[in-house]
């Protein structure tokens, strides 16, 4: 009986495994396949899954498209700067939350929670107004600042969860040996917390890389437009017949960094997501 049941469960798990793999990878395979279809093929209508005559012309075209390469640069620059700054601020805050007793600790955590759930679109109007006044509209800092604000909750939660697991005694030992609170933080906690910080950085980067609402609202030209925004405005000459293959190619290219990060750090990302994340 028991043996039969485990057998049945194993088969179920196998089927589940195949289904999950299909679910996750099939749409990715679809855009990859689409990216190798020629422009002529999609213009004439090409409902089959695989390209008739695979071509790399789309990749050549997209790499030669200055709007796209510029958007890619903007995306990398803005996401990386926002990630680094956000993680620095979040590390300080999370350290205080996990390790120190101070008034308003609960308030900070509630605030972070509230901001994680904040409807970003609600800010588009007032931010648009403020940013045009301050000259931040259509600039890198104009996106970096709100990206930092919206990734801080995620980073603070993830990090304070990691920080709670760091052994107290080490910090106290350092303090007994004459280190100040600050030194204990820098010399003892930072090395121990580095993996957590790294995880928070990945989740933050994903958020910034993915962000769309602010990217289309607070930019107006390619000088600061990120890839998602650029792609949504890239309709080509005929609005009724979008350049399917080229958009698919752009999709594949912006997905590559995500796949690389996921391949390298999957364990860390899962740990981070399940230990205090809010969704990027």
């Amino acid at each position: 009986m028991a043996g039969k049941q485990t057998g049945k469960t194993a088969v179920g798990t196998w089927i589940g495994f195949v289904l999950i793999m299909l679910w996750c990878l099939f749409p990715v395979a679809w855009i990859i396949s689409l990216s190798f279809k020629s422009e002529g093929e999609t213009a004439a209508g090409s409902p089959q899954f695989l390209p008739k005559e695979p071509t790399i012309a789309n990749y050549k075209a997209i790499i030669d498209n200055p709007d796209f390469t510029r958007a890619l640069l903007n995306s990398f620059g803005i996401s990386l700067i926002a990630t680094v700054l956000s993680v620095i601020f979040a590390t300080l805050a999370a350290y205080a939350i996990a390790r120190l007793e101070f008034k308003g600790k609960r308030l900070v955590l509630s605030l972070a929670l509230a901001i994680a759930m904040f409807p970003v679109v609600a800010l588009v109007g007032p931010l648009f107004d403020m940013w045009t006044t301050f000259g931040l509209f259509n600039t890198w800092p104009g996106l970096i600042i709100p990206y930092m604000s919206f990734t801080l909750p995620l980073a603070i939660w993830t990090l304070s969860a990691f920080f709670r697991e760091i052994p107290w005694e080490m910090e106290q030992a350092a303090q007994v040996d004459g280190a100040t609170s600050w030194q204990a933080f820098r010399k003892v906690i930072v090395p121990l917390a580095a993996p957590g910080v790294f995880t928070a950085a990945i989740l933050t980067f994903f958020f910034a890389w993915n962000e769309f609402v602010l990217a289309i609202s607070l930019t107006s030209t390619t000088s600061s437009r990120t890839v998602p925004a650029q792609m949504s405005f890239f309709v080509g000459p005929d609005p009724f017949n979008p350049p399917y293959a080229q958009l698919a190619t752009a999709s594949v290219i912006v997905t590559l960094p995500v796949i690389v990060i996921v391949l390298l750090f999957q364990r860390k990302i899962v740990a981070g997501l399940t230990s205090g994340a809010v969704k990027g």
Partner: protein, 321 residues
Amino acid sequence: MSTTVAPETDKAGQEHRKGGKPVASDRSSAENRLGLKLVAPAVVLMLLVTAWPMIQALYLSLFRYRLTAPDDRAFVGIDNYLTILSDDQFWKSTGTTLLIMVVTVAVELVIGFAFAMVMHRIVFARGLMRTSILIPYGIITVVSAFAWQFAFSLNNGFVNSWFNWLPWIADDTNWFGDYPHAMFAIMVSEIWKTTPFMALLLLAGLAQVSEDMLEAAKVDGATWWQRLTKVILPNMRAAIMVAVLFRALDAYRIFDNIFVMTKGAEGTQSISFLTYRQVIEQMQLGLGSAMSVLLFLSVLLLAWLIVKLFRVDLAQARGEG
């Protein structure tokens, strides 16, 4: 799976520490000051981009103010709110948004749970599976929207030709030509992208269900279904509720998929999309700000309702959500 200490225990631990070794008051006030100093930059930054613009929106919402006609700005009191609340489009968009939220979260909960069960049980290829499941999570929503838009496309999509044996799908089904079809396509993209997140949160909850308890239930002769409904689900209630809360609020803000896939055509505009159009496309800062305030309030109300109705344990959420 990383285990985290719930804040209550954490606090208790700290109190215990203090109880065991009395702390001098200047030491604790120094700690207090350091704590405030460390959180200050993050707090200021979070408020700068949310609270301050929200106050600004509250103020602007009381004016008739269009960016294209700045001289025509005039105080109109709550007129903007009345205009919106008596507008058909506003309520239709709210209905559409709620429909998307309820359907996607319900479907994701079921599929996500099945995924979590498989990932929990599986003994082989764990890394491969984790990697794969993170791809939809990490992929840009705009890319997901394009991928599904093209899949459902009339001339270039495979959906019609693959599924034309289903009675309601024909070779010439136009998935973006009417409300139900377009909503279906939008929901597919949303569900595909966010189910992995749901699955991972549920997996963390599943890991907390005690194996001993399951074994005991098995010995007592509980069927598979009884074990699921009487042991597993009640024991991961907190994780489920947290996942529902986060996903529901996230789905309520749906924007990217609609922007790319339909541009709000066929009545598919969500409340976020309507607000965006008022502000950015029509430059109606007064009316748009009023919509922003209403959107913000509705999210608050929704969060409150979910927390109250399902009694979400937010303290535990901080540990595992």
